[in-house]
C-alpha cells in the first residue's frame, strides 16, 4: 500500500524541479566563473610560457649550433691558410738553401782554382830559381872538375863562362837528343 502511494506521489523523473534547476545553474556558474575568470587563464599563460621556453630553447640551440659551425669553418680556413703558409715557407727555405749551396760550391771551386793556380806559379818560380841556382852550381862544379882534370886554373872569368855555356849547350843538346830518341822509341 505504502509503495503504491509512494508511486502515485513520485514526481515524473523527466520533469526538472525549478529549485534544482536554479541550484544546478548556480553550482555550474560558480565553476564556470572561477575557471574562466581566474584559473584557466593561468593555465593558459603557463602553457604558452612553456611553449615559448621550449621554442626559445630550440631557437637558442639552433643559434649556438650555427655559431659553432661558423667557428669551425673559420678555424678550418685558418688552419688551411697556416698550412699553405708553412708550405710556402718550406719551399722558400728550400730554394734559399739551394741558392746558398750553389754559391758556396762556386766559391769553393773558385778558391780551389785560385789555390791551384797559386801553387802552379810558386812551383814554376821555384823551378826557375832552382834551375838558375843549379846552372850556377853545375857551372862551378864543372869548372872545378875541368880545372882539376886539365890541371890548370881558368882564371879568366869570361872565358870560363863561355866555356861553361858551351859545355851546357852541348849537354842540353845531348839531353834533347836523348829525349827525341826516347820519344821516337
Amino acid at each position: 500500500m505504502s509503495i503504491l502511494a509512494a508511486a502515485e506521489e513520485a514526481p515524473n523523473i523527466l520533469v526538472p524541479p525549478v529549485a534544482e534547476l536554479v541550484v544546478g545553474g548556480i553550482a555550474f556558474f560558480v565553476v564556470f566563473f572561477a575557471l574562466a575568470r581566474v584559473l584557466l587563464p593561468r593555465i593558459k599563460k603557463t602553457l604558452e610560457e612553456r611553449a615559448d621556453a621550449i621554442e626559445g630553447g630550440l631557437a637558442r640551440a639552433e643559434e649556438a649550433q650555427a655559431e659553432a659551425a661558423e667557428t669551425l669553418a673559420k678555424y678550418k680556413e685558418q688552419l688551411a691558410e697556416a698550412r699553405h703558409e708553412a708550405a710556402g715557407l718550406r719551399e722558400k727555405a728550400r730554394q734559399e738553401g739551394a741558392v746558398i749551396l750553389k754559391e758556396m760550391r762556386e766559391e769553393a771551386q773558385a778558391e780551389s782554382k785560385r789555390l791551384t793556380t797559386q801553387a802552379h806559379q810558386q812551383i814554376e818560380a821555384e823551378r826557375k830559381q832552382a834551375l838558375a841556382s843549379l846552372r850556377t852550381e853545375v857551372g862551378r862544379l864543372a869548372v872545378d872538375l875541368a880545372g882539376r882534370v886539365v890541371g890548370e886554373s881558368l882564371e879568366d872569368e869570361a872565358r870560363q863562362r863561355r866555356t861553361v855555356d858551351r859545355f851546357l849547350e852541348e849537354l842540353e843538346a845531348t839531353a834533347e837528343d836523348t829525349q827525341d830518341a826516347r820519344a821516337a822509341r
Binding site: 523523473i13 526538472p16 544546478g24 565553476v31 575557471l35 584557466l40 593561468r42
Partner: protein, 262 residues
C-alpha cells in the same frame, strides 16, 4: 512487478524511488536535498582541484598540475580545436572545460562511498546545462549568421531539390530547436540513471541473498556482489565517457552556429 516481488518474497528491486530524496533541511523556503548539496560539493571540488593545481602554476608542473593540464589540453585540443577549429575554438575552452569537469565530478559521485549517487541522474542538472548550451548556440547562431540567416541556413541548406525542403525544413527546425536540448540533457541523464539503477539492483540482490536469506540463493547473492563490483568499474568508464560526449556535443552545437557548414 515491484509490488508482486515485494509482497511475495520480501525482495524489493530498486525503482525510481531511489532517485527521490526527502528534504534534509529548509533555508528560506528552499527544501535542500542531498543532490542539491552534492551539486555544490561537486562545484567546490572542481574549483578546489583547479585552484590547488593551478593557482600558482609553475613552468615545470607538479603531479596535480600536470594532471589538470592534461585535462585542460585534452578538452582544448580534442574538443574545442578539433570541433570548432583553431583560434575560434579557444574562445570556448573555459566553458567546455567547466562542463567536462563539472559533469564528470557529478557523475563520479555515483561510485564514491557514502555519497553513492550520480547527481546527473536527476534531470534538472543535465537540463540546466543543456539549456545553457542551447541558449548559447542560438545566440551565437544569430550573432554570426543574422536572425534570418541562421534559420535560413538551418532549414534551407543549399544544393537540395526544392520539393525536399517541404519535409527537410520542418525536420531541421524541430531537430535543432526543439529536440536538440532535450536529447542533449536526456542522453546524460538516462545513462547515469540506468547505471545507478543497475548498481543499486545488483547491490540489493547481493545484500538480500547473502544477508537476509540462507540456502542456495547465496549463489545469486555472490553473483550480485561480483556484478556490483564489475558495474562500478564499468560505470566509472561511462561517467567519463558521458561527460566527454556532453561536452563534445556542446562543441558541435557551437560550431554549427559560428560557422555555416553547408
Amino acid at each position: 512487478m515491484t509490488i508482486n516481488l515485494a509482497t511475495e518474497s520480501g525482495f524489493h528491486a530498486p525503482g525510481t524511488e531511489i532517485f527521490n530524496f526527502e528534504p534534509l533541511f529548509s533555508i528560506g523556503g528552499l527544501d535542500v536535498t542531498k543532490p542539491m548539496l552534492m551539486a555544490f560539493v561537486g562545484s567546490a571540488i572542481v574549483v578546489t582541484l583547479f585552484y590547488v593545481a593551478c593557482a600558482k602554476p609553475t613552468m615545470v608542473p607538479g603531479r596535480l598540475q600536470a594532471l589538470v593540464e592534461l585535462g585542460y589540453t585534452f578538452v582544448r585540443d580534442d574538443i574545442a580545436r578539433s570541433i570548432i577549429g583553431g583560434k575560434k575554438g579557444d574562445k570556448y575552452v573555459p566553458l567546455l572545460v567547466s562542463l567536462f569537469f563539472f559533469i564528470w565530478i557529478l557523475n563520479l559521485f555515483a561510485v564514491i562511498p557514502l555519497l553513492q549517487f550520480p547527481v546527473t541522474s536527476r534531470i534538472a542538472y543535465p537540463a540546466v546545462l543543456a539549456i545553457t548550451v542551447y541558449l548559447l548556440f542560438i545566440f551565437l547562431g544569430i550573432k554570426h549568421q543574422g536572425p534570418v540567416g541562421y534559420f535560413k541556413n538551418m532549414m534551407f541548406p543549399p544544393g537540395i531539390p526544392k520539393p525536399v525542403y517541404v519535409i527537410l525544413a520542418p525536420l531541421e527546425f524541430i531537430s535543432t530547436i526543439l529536440v536538440r536540448p532535450f536529447t542533449h540533457a536526456v542522453r546524460l541523464f538516462a545513462n547515469m540513471f540506468a547505471g545507478h539503477v543497475l548498481i543499486a539492483f545488483f547491490a540489493v540482490t547481493a545484500y538480500y541473498f547473502i544477508v537476509e536469506t540462507q540456502g542456495l540463493g547465496i549463489v545469486i547473492g555472490v553473483a550480485g556482489f561480483v556484478m556490483t563490483i564489475a558495474m562500478t568499474g564499468f560505470e566509472m568508464f561511462i561517467q567519463v565517457l558521458q561527460a566527454f560526449i556532453f561536452t563534445l556535443l556542446a562543441a558541435v552545437y557551437i560550431q554549427s552556429s559560428v560557422e555555416v557548414d553547408h
